[in-house]
């Protein structure tokens, strides 16, 4: 004990240490290391650290939201920003197209009404929320989005980008929530192949841009480009049926081979998300998001 005290006091007098002469670790470093280790053990045990995370959400979320707004002008973050002229031209073009499409849409809606017993269930209401943070240190499989309990978000709310599935809410704070991406290694979604209606699991991996497809029936034919959609969960939590997950990108190995490997490319560009939609029953703008199986 006396030895360690001596090391500590001399440490304070001489901050720059010559490694060869003094190889002992300062006691402050040891204490902090022990605190970090005990926190890890506490968190593994679970329960105790929940309020800590909630406090981090309540304080950190708004700060990130503010920082994201303040740094919005950074060129790196505005990848998807389009200049106004281009936007104007696009608007005129789309208005013309809209008129054409409206006609087709009316016809298709009639067909759909006949196909689906309850047409209202294909429409889902969403709210939009900006993505304010990601990461943080060794992976980027989670996002902070600027919508929380006050906006009606709850755990297991599905998160979309346009029509494509992004992930689900795993932690909710007052004004922000944490989203787990579908590519997170801990994420695994029940899906079916559009067309053949075959069931599979879409499991996240280390790769940010791909999902592994684990088919329930190994003898199923899979085509490149085939769409993969959600099967749906009871009460639509976390995912309602028919959400677009992605398309088959790679099929390795023969049908039925044990090393057959089917890779799905997520439809949403998960590494460059600026804005996401959260599926909320009281959100506005009910629109057709679901795909037909």
């Amino acid at each position: 004990m006396a030895v360690t005290t001596r090391v500590d006091s001399s440490q304070r007098r001489r901050p720059a240490v010559k490694p060869g002469r003094k190889s002992r670790v300062p006691i402050s470093v040891l204490v902090l290391g022990l605190i970090a280790l005990s926190l890890m053990l506490l968190d593994l045990q679970g329960g105790v650290t929940g309020p800590l995370r909630q406090a981090g959400m309540a304080v950190g979320g708004p700060i990130q939201n503010w920082a994201n707004g303040a740094l919005g002008a950074l060129p790196t973050l505005s990848e998807q920003r389009i200049n106004t002229d281009e936007l104007q031209q696009n608007l005129v073009a789309s208005q013309q197209r809209e008129a054409e499409l409206q006609l087709q849409l009316d016809q298709l809606k009639e067909q759909l009404d006949r196909k689906v017993a309850d047409p209202a269930v294909t429409e889902l209401a969403t709210i939009s929320a900006p993505v304010v943070a990601a990461g943080p240190l060794m992976s980027r499989n989670t996002l902070t989005v600027a919508a929380g309990r006050n906006d009606g978000v709850a755990r297991d709310t599905a998160v979309l980008s346009g029509n494509a599935l992004v992930g689900r809410v795993v932690e909710v704070g007052p004004t922000t929530s944490t989203v787990q991406l579908i590519t997170d290694p801990a994420s695994s979604i029940a899906v079916r192949l559009q067309g053949s209606r075959e069931l599979a699991l879409a499991v996240g991996g280390a790769d940010q841009q791909a999902l592994n497809l684990e088919l329930f029936d190994p003898l199923v034919d899979v085509e490149l480009g085939q769409r993969v959609i959600t099967v749906g969960s009871p009460d639509d939590r976390p995912f309602p049926a028919g959400l677009l997950v992605g398309r088959v990108k790679v099929v390795n190995g023969a049908v039925g081979a044990p090393d057959r490997n089917v890779v799905v490319q997520p439809e949403a560009k998960l590494s460059a998300l600026d804005e996401v939609q959260l599926l909320l029953p009281d959100g506005d703008g009910a629109r057709e998001i679901r795909q037909q199986p």
């Binding site: 440490q11 304070r12 001489r14 901050p15 720059a16 240490v17 010559k18 300062p26 402050s28 470093v29 902090l32 290391g33 605190i35 970090a36 280790l37 005990s38 926190l39 890890m40 506490l42 968190d43 593994l44 650290t49 800590l52 995370r53 406090a55 981090g56 950190g60 990130q64 920082a67 994201n68 740094l71 950074l74 790196t76 973050l77 304010v132 943070a133 990601a134 990461g135 943080p136 240190l137 060794m138 992976s139 980027r140 499989n141 989670t142 996002l143 902070t144 932690e171 704070g173 922000t176 944490t178 989203v179 787990q180 997170d184 290694p185 801990a186 280390a206 790769d207 590494s271 460059a272």
Partner: protein, 178 residues
Amino acid sequence: MTPKQWQYLIMGLLVLSAVILQTVVAARLPLPGPPLGLTLVVIVGIGLAAGTTAGAASGFSAGLLLDLMPPAQTTIGVSALLLLVVGALAGRITDPRGLAPAQLAGLTAALASGMWLLGQGLLWLLGDPVAPLSWLVWFVLGTTILGVVVIPAVTWALRRMEPGRRRRRRFKTASAAG
């Protein structure tokens, strides 16, 4: 405020801004591999300028903030332990003033790869998902380039706020000689 207190204030501000920028900017850049190690290079800078204890303490607090702030879903304490080790190791470098850019790059690369491997090992032990090996290359590459720019800025900011720096430098030379 005494010079020492000023230095602590600067360190606190550096840690806070590093943590916020890590989540809001560094982790969202459209680059391959994991997020850039912005926090890591700031902690290395603090360690180089202010010594082992200061480096370790700022590394610990930065890591703890990263563990508790929103998008983090890993076990609490992992980042704190990793950055604590990085700060403590950087603080042990004897003569930070004389580091050439190449040496700085080497030091950052060594600390970045060390932290990455230690971190992945910890995640593996804790049963959390582990990243592919190719991410190590991306992480070390990006972080080293960032470090050559950011570390000198951090050490400069901390030394500027150290009014007793002349006296301290002489003292340090004397102690090194003796």
